[in-house]
Symmetry: C2
Subunit: 305 residues, 2 copies
């Protein structure tokens, strides 16, 4: 009941920020999303691919959170590697190198035992692969997807086919403007919603997040961090936390519950960016997370006269 299937990338990231650098650390959209979702969802099932060189301790780390790893294929060759750098303002990742390696020929194979997952999150991968996942699952209660600027540019039609089959789209502000071809985020959110998803969540980093859907609109604050150490994985963490929260509540898509899901995703992502890779999430407790949710409530509350 309420299993959450997450399909996406598992990677080794080398990242440089103004605060330091890390080499071949655990990363990838499915990794961050699964780890975040494991704080909420009753059962998280990861599907992805790594190479023979993928360190076993990373698998152990994810298993220690109760994440089911049977869907992680180990293919001949090397694990997907990404190298990037952030400048002073940390707003944009500059890709230094992308080695797809085993990811280049990745065809998601959903294990038979996963086909009846109640919740399916298509983390950021090629939209054609996202479609192939949807062809393999049976009547999920809710489906969500994420994407990135590359697919908006290279495969807009495949991505639009994905949108027709999902309940939630997660997208960042720059990508939303790009895809909807308008500078107005409000217009972009409504336009993306009209292309298929019941709900659209626009992630704005330091400016919070916007939730569009069902004739409603929610503006969530960001958690006020003085320093963002490394923004890598923040969006994947947000989405995994959000959708894990929805799965935990059995797919409750009432407006109050979805707003809480946005806030839990926000709180979760605020921890990811405090250290490299999953370092901060590794030591995160439920109590620390709840405290940050309460702070988000406190810092955005006001009474009308």
């Amino acid at each position: 009941m309420n299993e959450l299937l997450i399909v996406g990338s598992v990677a080794l990231d080398s990242v440089r920020t103004p605060f330091g650098e890390v080499t071949e650390a655990l990363g990838g959209s499915a990794t961050y999303a699964s780890y975040a979702a494991s704080f909420f969802a009753p059962e998280v099932r990861l599907v992805g691919v790594v190479g023979e060189d993928f360190p076993k301790e990373h698998i152990g780390l994810l298993e220690s959170r109760g994440i089911h790893m049977e869907g992680l294929q180990v293919a001949k060759g090397k694990t997907f590697r990404w190298a990037g750098a952030y400048e002073y303002d940390l707003n944009e990742a500059h890709t230094l190198a992308t080695h797809l390696n085993v990811f280049e020929t990745f065809k998601p194979q959903i294990p038979d035992s996963y086909r009846k997952s109640d919740f399916v999150f298509l983390a950021n991968i090629d939209p054609e692969l996202q479609l192939s996942v949807l062809d393999q699952v049976e009547k999920p209660k809710l489906v969500a997807c994420d994407t990135m600027n590359l697919w908006i540019k290279m495969k807009p039609d495949a991505l639009k086919r994905v949108l027709k089959r999902v309940d939630f789209l997660f997208i960042n502000d720059g990508e939303a403007r790009q895809f909807a071809n308008t500078p107005s985020l409000v217009k972009a959110g409504r336009m993306l919603e009209s292309w298929g998803p019941k709900y659209v969540v626009i992630k704005k980093g330091e400016h919070g997040a916007l939730l569009f859907g069902n004739n409603s609109f929610f503006s969530a604050p960001a958690f006020p961090l003085e320093e963002v150490y490394d923004p890598t994985g923040a969006g994947d963490t947000f989405a995994g936390g959000f959708f894990g929260y929805v799965a935990k509540q059995g797919g409750d898509i009432s407006e109050p519950n979805l707003r809480r899901a946005v806030v839990f995703g926000t709180a979760m992502a605020s921890f990811t960016v405090e250290k490299f890779s999953l370092e901060r999430l590794k030591t995160l407790t439920d109590e620390q997370l709840s405290a940050r949710v309460r702070m988000l409530k406190e810092l955005s509350h006001f009474d009308t006269p």
Copy 2:
């Protein structure tokens, strides 16, 4: 009691946006701020300068809102003119022409009857002029100031002297990062606060506003407009609305009241940008304003579990 003195520019603006253009329309920091404040403050007193060519109907418009205009000097020469254009994304004004005219030799003269104003708002003008105003007033309850990138670059020391003498600083996000020399708005807000003001309000346009001060932090949403017609004057409107609201409440700087002031300023500014100049504010009713405040509450509200 609770008079609000506002000193700043009164101008004729020529503005071009993707939606249209307007020539020599009423503008200026003191104009927008006074008009907005007149919705709240018991008595608004404007001090500024115009030339002999300034249309009488503009003065009539401000007087029709109950704004006291005895402090508006009419000097020999022409009124300050600004011409600017906004591109597609409306985020940044491109100045096409600035004709200071009578503003070039403007020395604010605070009429004797205004020297005991309870509230003083130094709208965006040369910080040396802002200092000269502070030398002319007697023990105001609260002082606020606004500024712009030009003064941060040209007169940072004078501006820092102003900050030591004010209770509130209004500044936009780009200027806050510029002045505090950090990409982090949270850090910038705290740093600016440490330079003197009890409270710092960072205006983020489409992303809302942040209030720092008194060991507290408030994140306010923006009002979700699909189209921003002309952003000119939004920041001045926000500040005038905010400080007018504080003046109306007799200078109540409790956290709940200041948060409400941010929200009223936000709602007020959301009307200004819907049309050129003060066109939308002219027809604004208290009920329309209150409705937007309630919508801001509704769209940002969430319950924690």
